[in-house]
Symmetry: C2
Subunit: 352 residues, 2 copies
Amino acid sequence: MKKKIGIKRIAELSGVSIGTVDRVLNNRKGVSEETAKHIRAVIKHTGYKKNNVASRLKLATNKAISIAVLFPKEAYLEEHYWHLPLKGINKAVTELSEMGISHDLHVFEIGNSRSFTKESQKILSKKPDAIITVPFFSSPNLELSKKAQELKIPIVFIDTKKGEEIESHYSIHQNSFQSGKVAARILSQIIRDQGEYIVLNLINDINSQKNNRERESGFRSFFETEMPTLQGAIHSVTVDQSNIKSLTQQLKPFSTKKVPLGIFVTNSRAYLLPEILDKIELKNTRTIIGYDLNPGNIKLLEENKIQFIINQQPEYQGYSAIKGIFKLITEEVDTDLNHKIPIEIVVKENLK
Amino acid sequence: MKKKIGIKRIAELSGVSIGTVDRVLNNRKGVSEETAKHIRAVIKHTGYKKNNVASRLKLATNKAISIAVLFPKEAYLEEHYWHLPLKGINKAVTELSEMGISHDLHVFEIGNSRSFTKESQKILSKKPDAIITVPFFSSPNLELSKKAQELKIPIVFIDTKKGEEIESHYSIHQNSFQSGKVAARILSQIIRDQGEYIVLNLINDINSQKNNRERESGFRSFFETEMPTLQGAIHSVTVDQSNIKSLTQQLKPFSTKKVPLGIFVTNSRAYLLPEILDKIELKNTRTIIGYDLNPGNIKLLEENKIQFIINQQPEYQGYSAIKGIFKLITEEVDTDLNHKIPIEIVVKENLK
DNA sequence: CTGAAAGCGCTTACAG
DNA sequence: CTGAAAGCGCTTACAG
């Protein structure tokens, strides 16, 4: 292995001081275009690559990379879904702490878009090096994106796809449509043409509905292409999740049919279902597949009352966001920031 | 955030030079027990933690961590399974290259234990900082483990569990028994008590049989506890994988039964099956679950001829081994090196 | 516009 | 057994 060339060697080869080389490398002003061009040529020719460890050693003390995180306030609660991406963020920050990185958490209320806007402004006024948030509110969100862009602050949205098409932001989430296809694949193996399928949309707020719909489209798309004859057997039920009565009523008819039932719950509330099914004495053989490893779903998975969960790996999403931002800032490479999270299938036996 | 205390501050507080602090921190000799004790007390009291970035900056140039990898020679072949852990290793080494780490690959022939021994010796004579290999041959393996231990070289086995119980080695693999249970969970959802189950052990060499057996035990254990009445419906077929004739003969009887068939292939050769089943005109509804995303299995997954694959994430195994070794050497923490790989369930729709 | 020097926190000879 | 100085590769004032 030949000796690694550093900034010193570049300076020698270019006939300038290392200070000047540094200026060119970091696009600082105060170098004549002529020398700059020459130095760039040398850098290119030698294939020089900055040593980030050395670079961060100096910067870690003076200029740690600061990342603002804007999450629902539930992130504070141990057992809550929003705590998980935060956990991943903490893990990545810890791993990179010696390289100089820090974050601070700002929270908003899920039902209150103004709390989001207010915290957004606080964050922007601090001019962090990057922002991680979730795309809950469409217009306050757009606002934040725009301002971040003006200030040249990279912004990463995790968990779900942003509704609006804005450029120059990053996004880490699972492909909802594709995850619906995975659910369909699994249920179709089990139910085949022997029973009925229910797509259950348990809605609560406006924001998540888009996600639900995409999951349902994916689910239906699977049957269209892979088992077109079964389309008549797929029923959609959309109910407010607090309206147990209506849900009960809509499910009742299936219990008289006595056919196997495959139920796809398009959000994280699958754990609401078994109790209701028992109450209406629906005795059909049933397979339930839902999303997210929240305590309710985990419990029912362990009790064999839910059979499959699709996991979005929220912890990994937070982790990836930090790692990706660090790479973006230190190496100017953003490949890790537009990143589809694998669709993980969980049964009782591979729950960790 | 209060100012981070470094070696300099420890030196001040202890009334010694930083050189002496360094000696204590790195357990180098040449410090009187008295001062050492005092310095250790100060270190403990202040909660000082070494800055690895600074440490590696110095060491990266002089003393890169050297890791010897001993793999089957198939690791060179792009499409082969053994290439995957190597890919993960390369990825991790690249990520850590600035911190000073390098590896070199040694290969052996799968059918030839002497080639393994020969390369082991070469590796040991170079005194690498760590070794990564696979536990294929029991006695040459034991030999290597022992010698590495004598030389205080950490050794990490990936892919399968070591047969022998040796202490002071590390192991990164999937829990075979548990993965069998996952396979059983999936097939049992599909076949229920309506059909028959076949556990197919396609054996080739002696080494892998242990793994197969554990997978089968896990599979059977699931039925014992979760669906005890079905145990009569589980059949084991063990055939040399090159003996297609015998395999054909043993499967033939199932085609006359006309019941749904759930087939669990305990190794990576599930791709051999569909063609044979077609040949003997086995028309039963069938579900096949096997291991590993090799090109054959991927192709048949895409063609709907295999339904489920359990992935051992070989790339991630290699990646984890390097990251874990780095952490062990730089931070003296080995938590990442005895590490169970998640049991990943793959269908056509979540193939990446 | 450019250079020389000090410094990031740790490690390594070298001197005593 | 202990200390003072140089150095890892890059960055930052400061001086010119």
